[in-house]
Symmetry: D2
Subunit: 310 residues, 4 copies
Amino acid sequence: MTVAIAAPPLGPLLHDLVRNHRPRRETGSVPANIPFLADVPFNKFGIAVATTSGQVFSSGDADVPFSIQSISKVFTLAMALQGDTTGRLWSRVLREPSGTPFNSLVQLEAEHGIPRNPFINAGALVVTDHLMEGTYDAAAWVLRFLTAQAGISGPYIDEAAAASELSGSSRNLALAHFLKDFGNLKRPAEAVVENYVRHCSIMMTCVELAKAGLFLAGEGRGTAGPVLSPSDAKRVGSIMLTCGMYDAAGEFAYRVGLPGKSGVGGGILVIVPGECSICVWSPRLDGKGNSLAGTAALADLSDRTGWSVF
Amino acid sequence: MTVAIAAPPLGPLLHDLVRNHRPRRETGSVPANIPFLADVPFNKFGIAVATTSGQVFSSGDADVPFSIQSISKVFTLAMALQGDTTGRLWSRVLREPSGTPFNSLVQLEAEHGIPRNPFINAGALVVTDHLMEGTYDAAAWVLRFLTAQAGISGPYIDEAAAASELSGSSRNLALAHFLKDFGNLKRPAEAVVENYVRHCSIMMTCVELAKAGLFLAGEGRGTAGPVLSPSDAKRVGSIMLTCGMYDAAGEFAYRVGLPGKSGVGGGILVIVPGECSICVWSPRLDGKGNSLAGTAALADLSDRTGWSVF
Amino acid sequence: MTVAIAAPPLGPLLHDLVRNHRPRRETGSVPANIPFLADVPFNKFGIAVATTSGQVFSSGDADVPFSIQSISKVFTLAMALQGDTTGRLWSRVLREPSGTPFNSLVQLEAEHGIPRNPFINAGALVVTDHLMEGTYDAAAWVLRFLTAQAGISGPYIDEAAAASELSGSSRNLALAHFLKDFGNLKRPAEAVVENYVRHCSIMMTCVELAKAGLFLAGEGRGTAGPVLSPSDAKRVGSIMLTCGMYDAAGEFAYRVGLPGKSGVGGGILVIVPGECSICVWSPRLDGKGNSLAGTAALADLSDRTGWSVF
Amino acid sequence: MTVAIAAPPLGPLLHDLVRNHRPRRETGSVPANIPFLADVPFNKFGIAVATTSGQVFSSGDADVPFSIQSISKVFTLAMALQGDTTGRLWSRVLREPSGTPFNSLVQLEAEHGIPRNPFINAGALVVTDHLMEGTYDAAAWVLRFLTAQAGISGPYIDEAAAASELSGSSRNLALAHFLKDFGNLKRPAEAVVENYVRHCSIMMTCVELAKAGLFLAGEGRGTAGPVLSPSDAKRVGSIMLTCGMYDAAGEFAYRVGLPGKSGVGGGILVIVPGECSICVWSPRLDGKGNSLAGTAALADLSDRTGWSVF
């Protein structure tokens, strides 16, 4: 588990990754149900690394804000665990890989309204509902949390994008009403979906996200002090590794070997336990909904640094 | 990822685990379809650790042979990867968690005969079929491999148990004929199931299994020299972590944080990358088919040593 | 197919059925999600027969209004077929038995938003949406249709019951949003569910329902003139026979041998082609959601009259 | 239900159907898993009607033997019911439409080894196993039964075809072993599949099949005397109507309105209760596995005669 880092210095390495992986031609797809994401130029590519020793490295479009989408699920989970000393959250959502597409209703029906994990949409809706017990405007709370972790005032909610996404949220509304039917949603379905869509519509840069995720690499300690207990931080990492990449978690663990969470905005947040937090971004997606160029760059990075939890 | 081992010395720690986790009353279940496993006394408990530095520690019933059952799947996968320079194996089986019970036919039907991973029964049948291309008596080959890795002549096939299990193998025969129907089995279904059941019926002790699994902790280098490339060894570890504990892989990653593979004989093989290979055994199972006392002991061990990949 | 009716005269026969099948003790269940239905006394039992020759026979509580619930689906289908000269409806809903519980989302997902038939909830929501193209207040239109067919001004919407049911309609809202997500709903999901719940909350008596269903027995000709073409009337009958009794259509066809449609209010509408329309009502349900005493009485009636389409 | 037959005389009508529906160009498909069926010329088309008054009409290739395939399931069910005075059969197989393809394992798993009905492959295997309790060589028994009902010695088992089909029976072997695993098969899986394949490989002509099915139209009385009680005959008809056309039972009931059972050999047996038994044959199939030209001819026949149970 000790990693002999005979890796090249990070600065030049990141530049090299940008050079090799920035898309030259348009390949991959854009999410059909979120039109504005299709407007992002296909050749965007950024990467940033925040180390537990306090350094930040970046290259490419690392300072361009993008829609974090499902990456917000890592942070809402962490926020829910902060206040959940009694383990109530884990009676409402499991911690197992799903084996079906992330927004499927089938498994939810088979398992009587208990989502398989907090990173599929159904599970994230339950987590959002859980946060709304503390603060009804959960999305604003998530924004404050991310701003504090990023250490700068950059992150913001793209309200126009959120409104657009909300108007196409039939699948999420179906999931929310279904959860309600099973008694696993306390707030109104519409309000939970609205909060969910708004915290998914937070705009951040690679640098901001890498810094915001640092507590997951640093035994729960983030840029602004303790966020989670060391064991809770490790456990969020375990859920990222088994469930973080939609239905490609196994493939990502196989190729990259690190806990990660992707979003359909093209971002991927990756944790090297004890070492650093990494955010890569490129907007075009593979068939499973993960950034095509981002995944390739992370596999390359893992090979060249030896970073892997295995 | 560096692990500061301020753990107590391993010898006394293992004794302590045996003292705390050896079952005093009968709880848990036995596999309904393999009658002879029910005859093993409920209060058996053994644990062994083989380190990459060449030491072996053990306690309890660590020298009592037990039926390795599905733990053999780790080794058949490794053997298949040894010869698979062209990646043909990965065109016949995926590397994703299954999200359904390990011997379900549903997912196999939905995915047109390509098993989700090599550790569910369907996947292990494909791996066995793959091995039979090299040596028709694949079970004997697995036994030779395990004996070589364990470094002693202890392991043997319990032929009476295999025959008994084979007579109750309707589910595996159904899976094998189903794979055949999809064109994903080359040898006769009956022959593949027989080889599969026989390599699952190999009897080994905790000490032997810990030593046999050492190459997975040591960058592919086992007791008797190189077995896999470092990257293949890591990748087997990633599949263990995401798929190794039936439908409790996520829970095990959450509680223990280490790659593991369990068998319904009550054994669990666990890898601490770079450090050691661990085998724990206690025959009674939880609702997911994993050793009840074994899982608890491993969670305890992880807490006390800090061993975790996250 | 010729039916030799050596049956006893209908008046005394119906009295006999009431005597034999009116529940003496409370057995069966009430629908969990519609509380007010549980308030109906368990020992209610009514039956009415309207013949194509213009006679009406009845016995028991045949003049007590009850909630027609899913029986409305027969009439909304007929109304949709009236105006559907281009067959557009059949591009949005199939005509096959479902083989899964009536409000399951699984099949809908597997078949990409095209419900299996117009009598499962998803299919009835599509039919309701189809009617709303003609008249936004589809429920009022259904009420007018039923009143005209019954020939008296008895039917009414129980608005309090509808409001109560609407507040517990999470499952139907989930279905409607899911249909919307697949592009198979034109009006807003909430409005479609409201219309659906309201036409399910129409209150009618056995006598009224038997008369309203007469056009299905009489080659499309009802009490007030032609409703459907003879072939469309037959075809509605075929859908009743294959899909009308939730997941017990096969069992009902086997025991009773007549096209029927049941509702969780305890009513069952049955057609004897060429002869008569029958409505039986008793509020307690079997495990499939069909009236327990009603089903038994219909099996008895079929045995004693020889009425069967087979 | 009384049918006013103002239909044209049957002889000329059948000739007309042959003229209109015999395929002129090759359309439709052949079953992928039974190669010899592809060798039958696409333009074969035959039809025969046997009336309860003792007449037989036929036209086209009505005397050419073809493989009856799944049509045998109607007769094995009738044979099982003959001896089943205790209803034991119905504890092992349901009577509900399946809603999934006829040889799917999914529903079988969901319903714990109890097939949905006797006409899907799993159900027919259970019926075959049931027959084997009486006579181990069930296929020979089915042949004797069919020969007796047809009243001539024409039917025979195409042993070469059976052997060929058996070698491609992986799916049926999977189903049989799966049933065995659930305890719902008494004889060895291989023996049941062999008997099943052999009675599916019986060769008969349209004329023979129409005569053999006459007891289903005639209240249980066949060409050679009583076969079933009137109520059992009706009930077989009800299962044909709800389950007889694979996953197109609803569509067939809608278009044709008569109980039918098809086979992938291109035959369809149809019952007009009280009137006649009809067999049509043309070898090319639609997407659901039913004869393309045969289904069209039956819809035409139903329209022109008014024959329909609705």
